[in-house]
Symmetry: C2
Subunit: 148 residues, 2 copies
DNA sequence: CGCTTATTGCTAATGATTCTCAGTAGCATT
DNA sequence: AATGCTACTGAGAATCATTAGCAATAAGCG
C-alpha cells in the first residue's frame, strides 16, 4: 500500500517509479529503527539489490516528501531517518551512554504544544522533541561505577 | 562573571585561559542570537581580534562543557550555538519561511517531560524541542498568497 | 626568569552529502 | 513492437563544515 502511495506521489509530480526506488522503499518499510543512508545502502547491497549510494541519498528526501519517512536526528555527522508513524508521531528519549532510543507519544504533550503555539500566534506544522539522558540500565551502571 | 566561571572551569581541568579564548568568550557573551562558528569567526576578525577559525571550533565545545553555551540546531550544514540561558532553558519555534526563531519556556512543559521520563524510567539530563511552522506574519502572507 | 606543556595558526585531511555527465530506461504515442 | 522525450542511475569528482597534524608560541608554576 505504501508502494502504491509512493507511486501515486511520484506520478503526481511527473516522476517515475523505478526498480531502484522500489528497492529502497521496500527496505525502508522493512526497517522499524532509525537508519542512516549508509546503513540502508549497505543492507541493500548485502541483499543483492544493486542500488548506488547516490540513489539512496536521492530517494530518501522523496520518501520524506511523500510522508513515508521523516528525518529523525543528526547524531554526530550522519543524518538518520525513520519510518513515519503513518498517522501519529512520536518523540524520543536518547540514552547518551548506550544509544538506546525510546519512542514515546503523549497526547497531553501535543495539547500543551498546541496551546503554547496559540499563545505565540505560531502556526505549528511539526515538531521534534529529543530528551537526552540515561536509560534505566545505564543510569544504574553509572551509579555503580561512580558512587563518589 | 562568566569569564571567571570559565577560567575556573579551565583551571580545574588543567587548561589555560588564553587571549583567544577570552576573545571568543567575550564575543559569545555579546551575542544573544544563534550563531555559527563561521559567524563568530567573521565577527571576531572584523573587530580586530585575531583568532583563527580552528580556535573557534576548538573553543566552542569547551564553552558548552562549561555550560556557557549550548548547541542549538543543525540547520542545513552549519551547527548553530547560542548562549545558555544561565539557569533555565528554553525551547524554540522556528519559522520555515522567514527563519524567525521564537524562544519560549514553559514550566508546565518541563513538568510534563519529567513525568514522562519517570514513567519510562529514564534519567533526563537535557532536551531539545523545536516546533516548526510559520510565524504570525508568514502565516498571514501564506494565506494571502495562496488563498485557494 | 626559566621550564613544561597546553595552545595557536596554518594547512592538509576527512567524511557526509551533492553535483556532473554520459549512458539507461520508464512510458505515452505511433 | 519501435520511437521519442525525459527522468533516472552509477561512478566519481566536487563541496564544504569540521578535524587532525605540526612547528612555533605563550600560559602558569616554581
Amino acid at each position: 500500500m505504501a508502494a502504491d502511495a509512493f507511486g501515486a506521489f511520484l506520478a503526481a509530480r511527473g516522476l517515475r517509479m523505478t526498480r531502484e526506488r522500489g528497492a529502497i522503499l521496500a527496505e525502508v518499510l522493512r526497517r522499524s529503527d532509525h537508519f542512516s543512508p549508509e546503513d540502508l545502502y549497505e543492507t541493500l547491497k548485502r541483499r543483492g539489490a544493486a542500488v548506488s549510494l547516490a540513489s539512496v541519498y536521492r530517494t530518501l528526501p522523496l520518501l520524506a516528501d511523500a510522508g513515508i519517512i521523516t528525518a529523525a536526528e543528526r547524531a554526530g555527522k550522519l543524518t538518520r531517518w525513520e519510518r513515519a508513524a503513518g498517522r501519529g508521531h512520536h518523540d524520543h528519549m536518547l540514552c547518551a551512554r548506550c544509544g538506546l532510543t525510546i519512542e514515546f507519544h503523549s497526547a497531553e504533550l501535543e495539547r500543551l504544544q498546541a496551546r503554547l503555539c496559540r499563545a505565540h500566534r505560531f502556526t505549528r506544522l511539526s515538531h521534534t522533541l529529543h530528551i537526552h539522558g540515561f536509560c534505566r540500565a545505564c543510569a544504574r551502571a553509572a551509579r555503580g561505577a561512580a558512587p563518589a
